[in-house]
Amino acid sequence: TVCILVDSRCLSSAVDLMTSLRQRHGASVHVCSLDGSYFIVSSRMAVERHSQAALAAAQNRKRLSERVSALQASFDRVCLIVERERNKTGGASRPFQPTRFYDSTVAALVSAGVRLLWSDGEEQSAALLVELARLEQRKGQGIAVPLQVKGQHRQQALQLYLSLPSINYIQALNMSHNFLSVAQLINSSVEEIQQRGRMSRSRAEEMYRFLRYSCDSFLISTPKAAKTS
């Protein structure tokens, strides 16, 4: 079976999808609180669902680009499932007419390296999520770390790992389970961070530098001083 992590916000908007993941595909689905409404199918891949209409709406562009950039910061692979809308009665809706704006959005997403998958509804999206998780599993990237973090101290350590820049939920879990203590992570070499956090070399290097980054106390106290003055 494959393991998929789901943000709690996805539950209400995708009841059929969740049911299909669990019952039809036998996927082990874990609900947690992520920093956005998306799915995690491997230690490096995040998946978000969007409707075709949402990609075609100009007022969504800014929010969409913020979402995609945020995901690209902490996942090496980002995938969007583009879903066709259904009308209220469940039948097929009017055929979608792509506008020039919609095409420019799709073109920009593709050239930014975002993977696009096309779905006719929640059932198909569930099948695509399972297929992605399986493919990642075959490539040795599947979610293999225990998802439970027990005890107050371990929870606190996990929260600290999650606040590190460019670190996704699976990598934070890997660090919680694979380092003896937070101090061990902080004093680790790039190679150790890469191996035990199960992340790319460049991410491990960034983390190594971040942990040693010397703050300028002027820069961090300025925003507050500006507010109170």
């Binding site: 055929p95 095409d103 975002v114 694979n178 203590s181 010397s214």
Partner: protein
């Protein structure tokens, strides 16, 4: 053969589209006349259908291809295996007739071959999409990851605030005295004590050094 090899990697000039000869009379090319994209025909283009100036190739899979059987799969494999530094796109006609086969086509193109797939309703839609692909290179791409230039100081501050017993004031005081996460981590409780008090100093030291590992 040498010529053939060369045409696989020919990049058309900016704003141009290199188009396989077999598309000469198509409605796709006719619709392209209406947009600011210049078409050049190339008889050597055999594997791909179009080359774009932003180093992208396009293969077109029509409704007929899909309905007619599995021959299109061979075309796709040949396309995937052709060596080049181009990004390889596949445009698939998703129509009322080809719809039922679409999940199979998508599975083959994306999961088995690892190519990018875009859907179009027909050749006119395809020409609109291709012209946007050609024009996208002259625009700034709002989806491209921008990580450079991010200031780390506020981020370090927010991580320090995750330590037990530490709010904004104590976090600032800690960074004023120890400057980095690693230095705070490796400070002895006695060194932390003058900055945050005895009890928080012990909590911080304990937090860093207490074991977290061990499978539940």
């Amino acid at each position: 053969m040498a010529d053939k090899g060369a045409s696989l990697t020919v990049v058309p000039p900016y704003g141009h589209l290199l188009c396989a000869d077999r598309w000469r009379e198509s409605s796709l090319v006719q619709s392209l006349a209406a947009v600011p994209v210049k078409t050049i025909f190339d008889g050597d283009l055999t594997v791909a259908d179009f080359h774009l100036s932003n180093r992208t190739k396009v293969l077109y899979v029509s409704e007929c291809d899909i309905i007619a059987g599995n021959a299109y799969k061979r075309k796709l494999v040949r396309y995937r295996n052709a060596s080049s530094s181009f990004q390889k796109l596949v445009l698939v006609e998703k129509t009322r007739l080809s719809e039922q086969y679409f999940p199979t086509v998508q599975k083959f193109v994306v999961f088995d071959l690892g190519l990018s797939l875009l859907t179009v309703g027909g050749q006119t839609e395809a020409s609109q999409l291709i012209s946007q692909l050609v024009q996208s290179e002259s625009r700034e791409n709002c989806f491209r990851a921008r990580s450079a230039g991010r200031l780390w100081d506020p981020l370090v501050l927010s991580v320090v605030q995750q330590l037990p017993g530490v709010g904004r004031v104590k976090a600032l005081a800690l960074l004023k005295n120890f400057s980095s996460l690693q230095q705070i981590c490796n400070a002895a409780p006695a060194a932390l004590e003058p900055v945050v008090g005895q009890s928080v100093a012990e909590q911080i030291h304990g937090f860093f050094h207490k074991t977290t590992a061990g499978r539940p």
